[in-house]
């Protein structure tokens, strides 16, 4: 059977031995083009395995979210042939699967994808799966093995596939309806792929994969993602059952019109014989019939059947549209994470390490299962919708403070994908530098006074705080700084909106942060009194006749009352700080909250439990007393 495939070989590009330079124009199949220029899709050298895992996880998440299925994704990466650097990679999800008649092209044929629609998705080029198939075909004799149970079908199908790189066509080696007892996918629907790739895995790349999955879990807390390697399995557990509203496909916005989109719109309506005005308002969002008439009038072209216009006339429409002000585009085609899910992501991270039973390193002391959770004392969320480069864009920003957090960290996401590298050149870093910390109601000086004890790598006050800041940018066109897609450029007004989000957040949490800092200050102050009182008492009792013990006891009682008073009247201590506690303002994302069913009304969540964990010293009880009383007061 294998040799029968030989007939499919053959390519349009033939190596010639030329005596004289002569340009021979050759046509390349898409698959061959992408294999030859694999750098375009990021599949180069060391990065092949990393990119493969990324693409598979992103496809799986997209597939689940399309139908609001809580994702459960199992990825594995195992070395099967060290001599030839062969790795078995697999990914299984419980998404909607792919219809059996589409599986082979969806996996193997470049430029055929379910991703070519105007809505937010993780992967946009739709070439990831195809790259895996082509590389596997090119470098190994192992076929791709695929199990798919489509939501639209009842059976699970099994495939063995190869890509004919020379023609961009799938080679289907096996295709069968699996019998129920044989079936691999347990849920109602799902997809599993296994491929063998040739590649190298350096420790750096290994960490990169781990970071990628870990941060993916932060921004997708409704997903379970497990990752198996030869060392064992790590599971990034689900922490919520709420999923974001899926992205919807929308009509293009007229400000983004060009000749191609306009002609496509006319072509779509070709059979209906409508007017050009009708086509405009049916094919573009935010375009009323009146507005369409106005555009045609401004373009100065005569009325005729829509498909009778020449390009010269159409370009006038495009030019007018580019100069016309329209309503902001709607954002239904975007899927922001939303406050509730974002908050879950910020608040918790649950990781379970399961060591392989017979792991090579037989370290008895290491537990087989360990979990890690982080519980900040308070969190905040804010978002903005805006237009960047003619595309609707949603900026989401989150903040987590205190609790188990002990240092500053910035997390960056684009369309729910974590950005891991080039943080220094990311616009988010600029945003954080440029938003004044005193919007939080605290001064740099205060922060340095209170936190400079912590280990810090930086002089900047923000870097001293136990704070995590999260930025998520959703758009159908993320303004990446480089094609490497690791940092976002400060394009258009993006920075302005990000700064507005962070400023909101600072203002929103300011009361709580100030309270947190007052608590910490009160604690510090009591400690300070205890340090200094003996010195004062000694000096006095050496000078005049008084009982040192009485004086000490009275002094301690006095300062404890004093500290308590200080916390319930924070202003008196912080007179030099401008008060930013404006009435809490909600910055909802337009159209986003409709169906999210959020019941929370306050954007700042205070976790009492974690606060208690923090107070371990002897003054705990007293502090909690006045904490309670001050909360009653406020």
């Amino acid at each position: 059977m294998a040799s029968s495939r030989m007939v499919q070989l053959g390519s349009s590009s033939v190596i010639q031995t030329k005596s004289k330079a002569k340009i021979s124009f050759s046509r390349k199949a898409e698959s061959e083009f992408f294999v030859d220029n694999s750098a375009l899709a990021g599949f180069t050298g060391e990065r092949i395995l990393y990119m493969a895992i990324r693409e598979l996880i992103e496809n799986s998440l997209d597939s689940c979210e399309a139908e609001r299925i809580l994702p459960k994704i199992a990825v594995s990466l195992k070395l099967i042939d060290p001599l030839n650097d062969l790795w078995a990679i697999s990914c299984e999800d419980n998404g909607i699967g792919i219809r059996s008649d589409k599986v082979s092209v969806a996996v193997c044929s470049f430029l055929t994808s379910g991703k070519y629609v105007e809505q937010q998705q993780r992967g946009l080029f739709g070439v990831g799966l195809k790259m895996i198939a082509a590389f596997s075909t090119k470098d190994t004799d192992h076929p791709l093995r695929v199990w798919s149970k489509s939501a639209e079908e009842t059976s699970e199908y099994y495939f063995e596939l190869r890509t004919d790189i020379g023609t961009n066509k799938p080679i289907v080696l096996t295709r069968r309806d699996t019998k129920p007892k044989e079936s691999t996918i347990r849920g109602k629907s799902g997809f599993r792929i296994e491929a063998v790739l040739r590649g190298r895995l350096s420790p750096i790349t290994k960490n990169r994969i781990h970071d990628y999955i870990s941060q993916t879990s932060i921004v997708n807390p409704y997903a379970v993602i497990s990752f198996s390697t030869d060392d064992g399995m790590i599971t990034f557990d689900r922490r919520t059952n709420i999923m974001p509203e899926p992205a919807k496909e929308v009509l293009p916005h007229p400000a983004d019109m060009d000749l191609k989109t306009l002609k496509k719109a006319i072509g779509t309506h070709a059979l209906q014989k409508t007017t050009i005005q009708g086509i405009l308002c049916n094919s573009f969002q935010k375009l009323s019939f009146d507005k369409a008439k106005e555009i045609i009038r401004n373009a100065g072209i005569e009325a005729k059947q829509a498909d009778k216009y020449s390009e010269h006339e159409l370009i006038k429409i495009v030019n007018v549209c580019r100069q016309t002000k329209f309503q902001s585009p709607n954002v239904d085609h975007l899927s922001p994470i939303g406050e509730r899910i974002f908050t879950v992501g910020m608040t918790t991270e649950r990781t379970i390490f399961t060591k392989k039973e017979n792991a090579i390193s037989d370290d008895e002391s290491q537990p087989k299962i360990s979990t890690r959770e982080m519980k900040p004392t308070l969190t905040g969320y804010s978002s903005r919708a805006c237009i960047i480069n003619n595309r609707p864009t949603i900026v989401e920003c989150g903040l987590a403070y205190g609790g188990n957090l002990s240092y500053f960290k910035l997390y960056r996401f684009a369309n729910k994908i974590p950005l891991l590298y080039d943080e220094g050149s990311d616009v988010a870093r600029e945003v954080i530098s440029e938003v004044e910390l005193n919007k939080m109601g605290v001064s740099k000086k205060q922060v340095k006074e209170q936190f400079s004890g912590l280990e810090s790598r930086s002089d900047r006050a923000i870097d001293l705080l136990p704070i995590h800041i999260f930025f998520h940018i959703c758009s159908t066109k993320i303004p990446y700084k480089t094609a490497g897609k690791e940092s976002i450029a400060s394009e258009g007004e993006l920075k302005k909106y990000m700064k507005a989000c962070l400023s909101d957040l600072y203002r929103k949490v300011s009361k709580q942060i100030r309270h947190e800092m007052h608590l910490k200050d009160a604690e510090n102050r009591l400690k300070l009194y205890k340090y200094y009182i003996p010195l004062i008492v000694d000096a006095i009792s050496e000078s005049i006749d008084v009982s040192a013990e009485d004086l000490t006891n009275s002094f301690l009682a006095l300062v404890e009352r004093h500290v308590k008073k200080g916390v319930s009247h924070p202003r008196s201590v912080m007179t030099n700080v401008e008060n930013h506690a404006v009435p809490v303002e909600r910055h909802d994302v337009r159209g986003q909250q409709k169906g999210s069913g959020s019941k929370e009304t306050s954007v700042v969540t205070r976790s009492k439990k974690s606060l208690k964990m923090k107070r371990l010293d002897s003054t705990q009880e007293k502090i909690e007393n006045f904490l309670t009383s001050s909360e009653e007061l406020s």
Partner: protein
């Protein structure tokens, strides 16, 4: 001597009263102990046209352990007060550095230990606070700084039981001006006038030239920023002994500032101007205009730094420098951005300063 002891006893009593007051506040438990002391520094300094000197304003500082920042300060003041009491009880004297050492300590526990004094500056501030709290100048409670003022010329001092003749020949070294100035008595002054210079290098050069003998002058220097003893000595010579006082300092904003310490006082010691300032002193040089009138070679001029220029701009705005003469000099400096030290005259030869420049300036001002 027994007058001195009596004053010491009074100071001890004042300190005990302060301690008592703190004690009462704490034991009664009603309020945080606190006391107000005069605020010192530029924002509580007022120019008195009548007295012709800088005087202290009415602002006060509230000293109390009521905020995090003020806890260490309050403790430091109390601890320093006790140390002063001890010093007086032991009938000793000490320098400000000695007081720092005598009160050296740490606060905190095992895990978080820090120094009681962040530096000697903090201890010096606490000594100042004790002065303000008790209303007794430092010299009276026997805390002095290292002597740095110098004097040379026909003047006879008595310190304790000793007579000190400052009228030594040109080869001898000048006498240090004792910092325990309360112990110093001026027995006799034979000089016609007193010339104060900024730096001892300059004083030395002038003395060696035979200036004292030739012009029957007393030469003094505070070696830079003058200590209180030097300022008080100048004042006494002018006001008690009626000797004209002239001041020479470097032609830069800092030199001018030092010269003016003698004549109008300083912002940081404005609370003590009555004892320290000599309003009739004449600041004669080195003027910025002298750089050009005495043809100082360009290499001996220095380019003004931004700091110098800022300081000059600050000075221009001061009420007490609104006089046309000072404004003209400061404007000249701000325009040319050149400063100069008195030593620069050495480029004209080692005797030029003492034998040409100074006599000329003194003649112009009518002293000679």
């Amino acid at each position: 001597m027994s007058g001195m002891d009596k004053r010491h006893k009074e100071t001890i009593k004042k300190i005990r009263l302060i301690m008592k007051a703190i004690c009462n506040d704490v034991l009664s438990g009603k309020k945080m102990p606190s006391f107000d002391i005069t605020k010192i520094g530029y924002d509580n300094t007022v120019w008195s046209e009548e007295k012709r000197m800088l005087t202290v304003g009415t602002k006060t500082v509230h000293i109390s352990p009521d905020t995090t920042k003020k806890i260490p300060t309050f403790s430091q003041y109390v601890v320093m007060s006790n140390a002063v009491r001890k010093l007086l009880d032991e009938q000793m004297e000490s320098t400000i550095r000695g007081m720092y050492y005598a009160t050296l300590s740490t606060v905190g526990d095992e895990r978080n230990r820090q120094k009681f004094w962040t530096s000697q500056d903090a201890s010096d501030d606490a000594i100042k606070a004790v002065e303000l709290l008790t209303g007794v100048p430092r010299e009276e409670f026997s805390v002095t700084s290292k002597p740095k003022g110098m004097i040379s010329g026909p003047i006879l001092l008595r310190v304790g039981g000793d007579l000190i003749d400052c009228n030594l020949g040109s080869r001898a070294t000048s006498q240090l001006i004792p910092t325990n100035i309360m112990d110093v008595e001026i027995v006799d002054v034979k000089a016609d006038f007193v010339m104060v210079v900024e730096k001892d290098t300059v004083l030395n050069n002038i003395r060696k030239s035979g200036f004292i003998q030739k012009y029957n002058a007393i030469l003094m220097t505070g070696s830079g920023e003058p200590d209180r003893a030097t300022r008080m000595m100048v004042k006494t010579l002018n006001e008690v002994w009626k000797k004209p006082v002239v001041v020479f300092a470097d032609a830069d904003p800092w030199g001018l500032g030092i010269a003016l310490r003698y004549k109008i006082g300083s912002e940081s010691l404005s609370y003590d101007s009555d004892r320290l300032v000599t309003p009739d002193a004449k600041v004669l040089g080195m003027m910025f205009s002298d750089i050009y009138e005495y043809n100082i070679p360009e290499v001996a001029r220095l380019t003004a730094s931004d700091e110098d220029l800022n300081r000059a701009n600050d000075m221009k705005k001061k009420q007490w420098l609104k006089d046309k003469k000072w404004q003209k000099e400061l404007n000249l400096f701000l325009k040319n951005k050149e400063k100069c030290e008195l030593d620069a005259f050495f480029k004209h030869g080692f005797r030029y300063l003492a034998e040409t420049y100074l006599p000329q300036k003194l003649r112009e001002s009518g002293i000679l």
